[in-house]
Structure formats: structure tokens, C-alpha cells
């Protein structure tokens, strides 16, 4: 409390100017790494990346390379970390994990990252699903990130709670219940009302995850493909907002705190019965259940269905900042970590879904059923959910819009302190204050 933030922020500004001097001394070291020329590569990841074993394997295969790993606890903090160091002009690791949500900001300064085309990106381009590779390419065609995982969305549901409400519990029947391939949000909310009537309990944990899913599956989200803001007067978006607002007004939201859930208790005590599940969410839920002392008996399961069709939420990239003194070695490490073989191992370790076609195919074949989710065939379900996903353009302020513009408006709905109109107006006001007139 007594530490001067003022000083910190000013020191940061000072560091930025010093960095101009420092960056002149950098320069790539041409001599290749080897046992007699040992080098150290630093890597910064966030959340659950599942890379620990892979680092060791890489070090073994490449004598002379030492990997110093740093893992930030979550995407939001990783963003602050990366932005601070970008602003300061120094301090970034040789390999930095970038999340899809703030990739738009990074793209604004894509020249501060190494063009991976110079290190053979074109040769491995076909490894990835098209849209993932495109996301990591800037408008000038420079490749600044290799995709790690993607977040195709399926629907998690709690079998025990479904049973108590007289709903089917078999995951295939549940998929049918929601409408199978033609599942719509209308059905999703109607089932919620039905569930709420039978049990008096909430249907989903809180509104903003549902909202993220809705927006992510639109052809154009907060921005048009040309990079224009696409919220005010967007009737399609407004219609979805009203749908969600009506559901929340009917008591379908448990008004939980996102990424907190009472330290996971909400997943154990039956507060809500369905949850939007991008592949990586299974890892998050697992963590929550562990912290609340729950296990497979809590009844969670995942169904191969998603309202409104295919949707992708999240996924990451590995980038090499221009400040790296070892861009060639760093790019090689990033390419190795994101190669299909390693993605399979990452997926097993971190419960996420790979972004390369080969790895996806292998996961379908070999991935062990997920015990925590009632032995759900993890690979099969998410491979099926990844079909039809389209890459949506993410603008520079996408994460601000999600967290600072819509989150407060949706919280109004959850708290019951505003109607759909009031909440939407609040979102538009915030948009103008925070983004348009920033």
C-alpha cells in the first residue's frame, strides 16, 4: 500500500527511454548453439500449458540449450506482463505465449516480433488448421505466432442434476435434447427454464461466459473483418443480448464470480447445471473441482453439442519477440513445441485441444477418456466441435470490450439491477467512453 505506484509507473516510462539505448547493443548471435556453445532460452507461458516435460525433452535432444521457463498464473496477468515489457522495450522472454483474446493488441505492434517466415514457417504451414495459422499472420503476411491449442466449444452438463430435473443424462441423448447439429440458443434457454421450474435452481454460472460464446461464434464479433467497431446498431448481436437477458431475468444465472466460483464450490454444490466448455475449460473445471474437493462423483460430463453451432473461444500462440538475442534458436523451439507430436503430449498434460490437424487426428484415436467427466471421449468430442469453426477477426480492443465494456453490463443483468435495455445502453456508453473516445 505504501509503495509509490507513481514512482513505478514513472520508472517504467524511464525504462522505456533507456531501452532505446540498450536495444542498440543487442544483435543476433550467429554462432549456432551446441554443447560447446551453450545458450539459455527463456519461455513465458500462462495458465495450464503442460510444457514442463517437453522442456526437459528438448534440452535432452539439443545439448547446449537450457530452457528457463516462467509461467504466469493466467491470461490476463500474462497480458499485463507482456504489455509492460513491450512498452519498456526489454525483458520479454525469447518465446512468449500470446492468448487469442489479446492477439489483436499484439498485431498492432507486430513489427516488434520476429517474422517466423525467416525461420521456415512456410514449410510447416500446413500442419495447422487454416484459420489458426491465419490468425497468427499479420496483414503484411508476417507470421508472428505458431498456434498451440484451440478452444472449440462443447457443452458441459451435470448428469446428476439433469437426472434430478427429469432430463436425460446420457451424453448422446443430451446432445439430441439440445438439438444436435441444429442446436440453438433458444432451445438452450427454454431447457433452462424447464430445469429452473423443476428444481428452482440456476442453469448457467453467470452471463458473461455465455455471452463470450455467443459473440465468438458470429462471423464478425466486436469488430468487422475490416477492423471497424461492430457493436452499436448491430441487430444480430443485440438479439443475442436480449435472449441472454431474458434468460437471466428468469433466474437462469447463478451470478457466480467468473474464474472464482467460490474456489470451485459452485461446481460441487449444484449451483448450476450446464457450462460452456471450450476444450481448455475442462482443465479449469478440474482445477476448481480439486480445490473444492470434488471428483467424478460430482456428475460433470461433456456433450458433443453447442447452441448456435460451432464456436471457438481462446487458444494461444508462441511468438518470438524482436528483442530476443537468439531468434533462430527461439523460433526453432517454438516450432518444435507446436509441432503435432508435441501438441499431443501437451494436450495430455494440460487438457487442451491441439491446433494441428495431425495432432487432432491422433487425439481422436488415442486420447484416454476423461475420467473426471464421466469417461467422456475427449478427443472425439472436441474434434467434432472443431469442425466448422471460423476465425473471427479480433481487434486491438477486443479484450477491453469483453472485460471492461460487456462484463459490467452483464453483471447488471446477473445482479438484477438493470433491464436488457439498460444493460445494453450501459455497454454502449462504456464502449464510447473506454474505446471510442479513449
Amino acid at each position: 500500500m505504501k509503495i509509490s505506484r507513481l514512482k513505478k509507473i514513472t520508472a517504467l516510462a524511464g525504462a522505456a527511454s533507456l531501452a532505446v539505448v540498450a536495444s542498440g547493443c543487442g544483435g543476433a548471435n550467429a554462432e549456432p548453439a551446441g554443447a560447446d556453445n551453450p545458450i539459455t532460452l527463456t519461455v513465458t507461458t500462462f495458465g495450464q500449458f503442460g510444457y514442463d516435460d517437453l522442456y526437459a525433452e528438448y534440452e535432452e535432444q539439443n545439448p547446449g540449450v537450457t530452457i528457463e521457463a516462467n509461467n504466469v498464473d493466467g491470461s490476463a496477468n500474462a497480458r499485463t506482463d507482456a504489455f509492460t515489457k513491450l512498452a519498456a522495450g526489454s525483458g520479454l522472454s525469447d518465446v512468449v505465449a500470446v492468448e487469442e483474446g489479446w492477439l489483436g493488441s499484439i498485431m498492432e505492434v507486430s513489427d516488434q516480433f520476429v517474422d517466423l517466415n525467416e525461420h521456415g514457417a512456410a514449410d510447416i504451414k500446413d500442419n495447422w488448421v487454416d484459420w489458426k495459422f491465419e490468425q497468427g499472420t499479420d496483414p503484411e503476411g508476417r507470421v508472428i505466432g505458431y498456434g498451440t491449442d484451440i478452444g472449440p466449444q462443447a457443452l458441459c452438463f451435470n448428469g446428476d442434476l439433469f437426472e434430478a430435473a427429469g432430463l436425460p443424462t446420457d451424453r448422446e441423448e443430451v446432445a439430441e435434447l439440445f438439438g444436435g447439429d441444429d442446436a440453438t440458443w433458444e432451445t438452450y434457454f427454454d431447457l433452462g427454464r424447464q430445469y429452473n421450474e423443476a428444481t428452482g435452481k440456476a442453469w448457467y454460472d453467470q452471463s458473461s461466459f455465455v455471452w463470450n460464446s455467443m459473440v465468438n461464434q458470429m462471423d464478425e464479433g466486436y469488430y468487422t473483418a475490416d477492423g471497424e467497431l461492430n457493436i452499436e446498431g448491430n441487430e444480430k448481436m443485440r438479439a443475442q443480448f436480449d435472449l441472454l437477458a431474458a434468460g437471466t431475468a428468469d433466474g437462469l444465472s447463478a451470478n457466480q464470480k467468473q474464474f472464482d466460483w467460490g474456489n470451485g464450490k459452485a461446481f460441487v454444490d449444484g449451483s448450476f447445471a450446464v457450462h460452456v466448455c471450450p476444450a481448455w475449460m475442462l482443465g479449469t473445471i478440474q482445477e476448481q473441482l480439486e480445490s473444492a474437493g470434488g471428483g467424478p462423483e460430482t456428475g460433470w460430463d461433456v456433450a458433443d453439442v453447442f447452441p448456435g453451432g460451432a464456436s471457438n473461444w481462446g487458444g494461444a500462440f508462441l511468438s518470438v519477440p524482436a528483442t530476443s538475442e537468439r531468434p533462430a534458436e527461439a523460433a526453432a523451439l517454438a516450432a518444435w513445441l507446436t509441432a503435432p507430436e508435441q501438441q499431443v503430449k501437451q494436450s495430455a498434460a494440460a487438457n487442451n485441444f491441439p491446433s494441428t490437424l495431425e495432432a487432432q487426428a491422433e487425439i481422436v484415436e488415442t486420447a484416454k477418456p476423461n475420467e473426471l467427466f464421466n469417461d467422456a471421449p475427449y478427443g472425439e468430442i472436441f474434434a467434432s466441435r472443431a469442425e466448422g469453426v471460423i476465425a473471427q477477426f479480433k481487434g486491438p480492443d477486443d479484450s477491453v470490450i469483453q472485460e471492461n465494456v460487456f462484463a459490467p453490463a452483464l453483471k447488471m443483468l446477473d445482479n438484477g439491477t438493470g433491464t436488457a435495455d439498460e444493460a445494453w445502453d450501459e455497454a454502449v456508453t462504456l464502449l464510447n467512453d473506454l474505446v471510442v473516445n479513449n
Partner: protein
Amino acid sequence: MTTTLDRPAASSAAITKPRPTFRQRLNVFDVKASPYLYIAPFFILFALVGLFPLGYTFVVSLFDWHLLKGQGEFVGLQNFREVLQDRFFWNSLFNTMSIFLLSTIPQLVVAITIAAVLDQNLRARTFWRMSILLPYIVTPVAVAMIFANMFGEQYGLINNILGAVGIDPVLWMNETLPSHIAIATMVNWRWTGYNALILLAAMQAVPRDVYEAAAIDGARPLRRFFSITLPSIRPTMIFVVITATIGGLQIFTEPKLFDPRTAGGTARQFQTTVLYLWEMAFQRQNFGKAATIAWLLFIIIILFGILNWLISRRIATSGDSRNGGGPARRRRRKRSATPAVVLPAVGPQPPAPAADQPPEPPVETAGRPAGTTPRRGT
């Protein structure tokens, strides 16, 4: 070196005024310059890490400056104009003031009370003193995490207890005043003990014979506390108030970690000014405006500092302001060593209780002097 050419002239001058030897000159230099050299490290460091960033921040605040894209156009005072019209900036100032008042006032009252209790002749004195300092040792991050958990709206300990006695859960994070109380609680928990120790040290410096004299004159413990203890520790109180003010205006960790996903609550219920600065810099990426907020906060803190100084000067000189500024100030410094200042305050008292209740004083003085006014070995 060139003086060697003028040797004849110099030596003739040396007759009237002997030319100082190298040693002598070194001595003069030592006396005149050394003190500055001794303090130079601090000032050089301060200029590097304090003054330069301060100036640089001001430069940044005059530009359109994107966090990642860097320096943009020169906009003059445009950023200041916009921030001063920004409702969120005023909201953050309101929150800061509210949390500041909610933390500082109860904190001081409780700290003085604890200090007064510890000033008594307790058993295991060191144990108690160290115990109240314990919260201060705990890192604020841990404090914030534990308290955020306790103040959870649906699963928090406090709402559970309230629920057990039939009180509706309080929305500790979604409503403004409760959230301020919750954050002020964290601040108080952490700083009360620290301030109590500082005040205790001041209380121990008050000569015990003053208390004895007052007790003999019939002043009861409460009276002695208000008429002797409080006036004597005034300079220390001022110090505590000033540090609490500066700290309170810069509060960041507690509100940030109270809800780590947001920058001070979903609807900025507890977004303090520094937190808003953080949001501006790292979420909205507007470094120019963030620098502006930093400067505005700096100015506000300076204004508070001046206000504090004025008030404290008034308080400190209130006893003898008629004597004029200069001597009064010198006398004030002496006060901390001798209890002269308390005497005028104590002076008029004894007659009053003595006149009101004649039988009391003997009982007081006979029964308690040893217990209430012990002389500390420390």
C-alpha cells in the same frame, strides 16, 4: 598549475597573508564540501529514480502515447482536460477518499487505544507488542486473498455467519459502501498494529512524573489520558496521519486483489485512483492519460501534504501561538524532550476535580500511583 608562473607575486602576497598549505586547503575543502559529498548518494539516486521519472511522466502526459505503439502526437494539456472531465476519474477519487476515511479514522482511534493499553504495566509485555505487529509482517497479497475469500458474497465466511444469525447476505463486492468497508478492513488489519507501536513509543517518552503529579492532583486515568497522553504524542500523531494519508491516497494492492479479475469491481465500485491509472495504462493502453492521472494524483497528494502541514503547524503551535513564530518553533522542538507543552493543559485541571469532589483525590493517589505510573526500565 598556472600559478607557478606568478611565483614572485604570490610569495610577496604570502607575507601579508600566508599562503595556505595543501593540507590546510584540503581541510577547508573537507569542512565545506564533504557534507555535500556525504549526502550526495541519496540526492543522486533520488534524481535518477525520483526526479527524472517525475519529469518524464509529465512529458508523457503531454502526448498521445500508446502503451505499445509508443509516442504519438503532442497534445499539450488535452489529456489533463479530458481526465478532469472523465466521470471515472472522479469516481476513483471518491472511492479513494471514502476508503481513506474509512480506514484512517478507525485505525487511529483503535491504534491509540491499543497503544494506551500496552502502555500499562502488562505481563509479557514484549509478547503483546510483537503480537500487534504480526499483521504488518504478512504480505499484503496474502492479506488481500484471505480477506477477499472471507468477504465472498456467496461462499464467504462473513456472509455465512450473518446467514446463521438470520441476516441477509451483504453484497461485499457489488455494492459500493460494503466494498469500501471490506477494503478498509484489510488496510486497518494490516496497519493498526504498526501505528499502535509508533504511538506506544511516543507514549513511553512521556515522563512518568507528569502522570504522578496529575494523579496526586486528582486526575483520573481517562482525564490523564486526554490531558497528558494525547497532547504529548501530538507530533507522532501528525507523523502517523501524514503517512496514513500518503499511503491511503495511493492504495492499490487491496482493491486490486479484492477482485483480481477486474480493475476495482465490475462496475468500478472500489476502483481507486491508482487502480484507474493501472486500467488506463495496461488495459486501455493509453499511456499519456495514465501519466496524466499519475500527475494529478501527485498534485492531490501534495495538496494533502500542505493541508496536513498547515493543520499540524496549527495544532503544534496552538499552545503558544501568541509568542510569535520563530521562538515558538524552537520551543516546539524542545517539547519533545521535555513535557513543557503538557503543563499548560494540565495546569488548570487539578483545581476543578479537587473542588468538585474533595474526597476522591486521596483515594486515587493513595491506591494507584505505583500501578498506573510505573517508570519503565526501557
